[in-house]
Symmetry: C2
């Protein structure tokens, strides 16, 4: 009997595609087995359990998102960097809704520490460096940006903005604009 050529990597990758197609919370070991035309139990040679699969998808998504954000940030500073970073975030969520949802999958502390999650915070701080904020404003600002980006993307994904003018890209630009203004207003005074 020919083998299907499964591996943890391939399964996680296919799981991510499945998530984008049907939603992260509908990703199931069974559905994945069907996709490879293989019996369910076969997947358990590669995955400890269903939680393991979801964790894998989450880590993959965090990695991809971090890479996109890093690319977007390269060679930019100030508002330019802020906008590029914000767009990388929103675009990724738009193109890969299931993967984006996966980035919210709760990771146990050890896994989280080894994930790309830290790079996200690092990049946000890098953007803020251009605004030269004093502590503790900088930390507050990291959290504000995280909240706005995640909140916006998440409300947009659940259709919150879809039935009223102006359309949501317009609001997105407005939000980035005013976040920039807010951050500029916080610049540390010259010594």
């Amino acid at each position: 009997m020919a083998r299907a050529g499964l591996s943890k990597q391939r399964l996680i990758r296919a799981g991510a595609e499945l998530a984008d197609e049907v939603g992260f919370d509908r990703v199931t070991v069974s559905a994945l087995a069907r996709r490879f035309d293989v019996k369910v139990a076969s997947l358990y040679s590669h995955l400890r359990n269903s939680h393991d699969l979801k964790t894998g998808i989450a880590l993959l998504a965090l990695e991809e998102l971090a890479e996109r954000a890093a690319d977007a940030l390269a060679g930019r500073a100030g508002k330019d960097a802020l906008a590029a970073f914000a767009n990388a975030y929103r675009d990724y969520a738009g193109e890969h809704p299931g993967r984006y949802a996966a980035t919210r999958f709760p990771l146990d502390p050890r896994t989280a520490a080894a994930s790309a999650g830290g790079r996200h915070a690092q990049m946000t701080r890098a953007i803020l460096r251009g605004y030269d904020l004093p502590e503790p404003d900088q930390t507050h600002a990291v959290r504000l940006l995280g909240s706005v980006f995640h909140g916006f993307v998440s409300l947009e994904a659940s259709g919150g903005f879809s039935h009223s003018a102006p359309d949501s890209p317009e609001t997105w630009a407005w939000v980035v604009d005013h976040l920039d203004a807010l951050l500029r207003s916080l610049r540390a005074p010259e010594p």
Copy 2:
């Protein structure tokens, strides 16, 4: 045999409690039946299906949250109203994490239209009235507030802010403060 005295209302109420205890996505018809010491099939006289139960919990939560927000808003205006509204939101999510998660359950358009969701948007607009914003800034601002509140609460719930100083209530106050400043800066010029 004595009856348990089930009803759709009671089931949804108990489902909401269960959600707060174990998480909204772990709310299950079976668990609910166990809680009432009744066979699973019995619940199907009161609920169409599991989706129906979750929808009910979502509607309950939206209702409760709207009521709290309305109470918080009563007799306040300007920054005072903004802070009270924001706190109502955050406090509710802190006290009732499962119910809060339920407010994000996707409702079909007809159900959503009949829900308390509309009142939330109305209240946000009421707060903004105090800032006297021109259109389309007002709509953008409604969305910004929604994004920040939801994003913050959601990141806080998933433990995003818990392992670093300053603590998250401090950031929350800071965020409300600077949102107020942002909104004030947008006030329509005197005619």
